[in-house]
Symmetry: C2
Subunit: 107 residues, 2 copies
DNA sequence: TTTCATACCTAGATACTCTAGGTATAGAGC
DNA sequence: GCTCTATACCTAGAGTATCTAGGTATGAAA
C-alpha cells in the first residue's frame, strides 16, 4: 500500500508558498521541504511540471532573472492564483476533516 | 486545478471503516459517504478495485454471504490490515500536519 | 580542474481514480 | 405478472498526477 497523499495537492501547496513570496522552482522545492519539516521532499520532475501547469492555468506568472549570475525563472502568484489558493485551502479543510472522521482522529 | 486529495489514500480510508466492522463493498461506499458527511461519494469503479488490491496485499479477507438472499462479499480486516491502518493513520497525521503548515492553517 | 550544489527541463513508467459500460437479484408499485 | 428502482457485484480503458531517470549548464569550492 503505497501512500501518496500528495496526489492532486501539489498545486495548492506551491501556491501556499508563493502566496507569501515569489520564488524560483528550485527554491520552492527547498522552502516546501523546510516548511514541512522534511515531509515534502519533492523531486524536480514533480515540481517543474506542476509550475508549468499553474502558469498555463493563469495562477502564477514567471519572469527570467539573472541578477544572481545564474539564470532563474521567478514565479509570482496572480490574483487568480490567490483565489485558487483560497479555494484549494477550503477544499483541503473539508477533505482533511472528513479523513479525520473516517480514520477516527479526535480533533 | 482539479483537486483529488484522495489519491493513494482510499485504501487507508477503507481500512478505517473495516477496522470497526466487517462490511461488503456496496455498504462500504455508503458508510464512507455517511461518515464523511457526503464528502466521499465514491464510484463503485473506484472502490471495488481498491478492495481487491487490499485483499491481494493481505490487509483484508473476504467471504461470500447469501443470508440476505442477495449475494454479497463480506470484507474483514486482518491483523496485517490493522497494522497497515495504524501505519497509514500515522502517515496521514504527519502529512496533514505538514499541509496545514504550508497552507497556513493555525491548528 | 574536478566535484558538488544550484537551476532548469522533459519523456516515459507507474499507479491511482474515474467513466462507462456490463450482469444479476430483491422488492415495490401497478 | 410486469416494470422499475435499489442493491450488489465486476472490469476495461481513459484520464491524470507523481515519480524515475535521464539530460544540460553554471558558479563556487576544494
Amino acid at each position: 500500500m503505497k501512500e501518496n497523499w500528495n496526489a492532486g495537492n501539489l498545486d495548492t501547496l506551491l501556491l501556499g508558498i508563493l502566496r507569501q513570496q515569489s520564488a524560483h522552482g528550485y527554491e520552492l522545492i527547498q522552502k516546501l521541504k523546510e516548511t514541512s519539516e522534511g515531509v515534502f521532499d519533492l523531486p524536480e520532475g514533480t515540481v517543474y511540471p506542476s509550475l508549468h501547469r499553474l502558469e498555463k492555468s493563469g495562477a502564477i506568472s514567471s519572469s527570467w532573472d539573472s541578477t544572481s549570475g545564474r539564470r532563474r525563472r521567478i514565479y509570482e502568484i496572480t490574483p487568480n492564483g490567490r483565489a485558487a489558493f483560497q479555494s484549494g485551502k477550503k477544499a483541503w479543510a473539508k477533505y482533511s476533516y472528513s479523513v479525520n472522521m473516517v480514520l477516527g482522529m479526535s480533533s
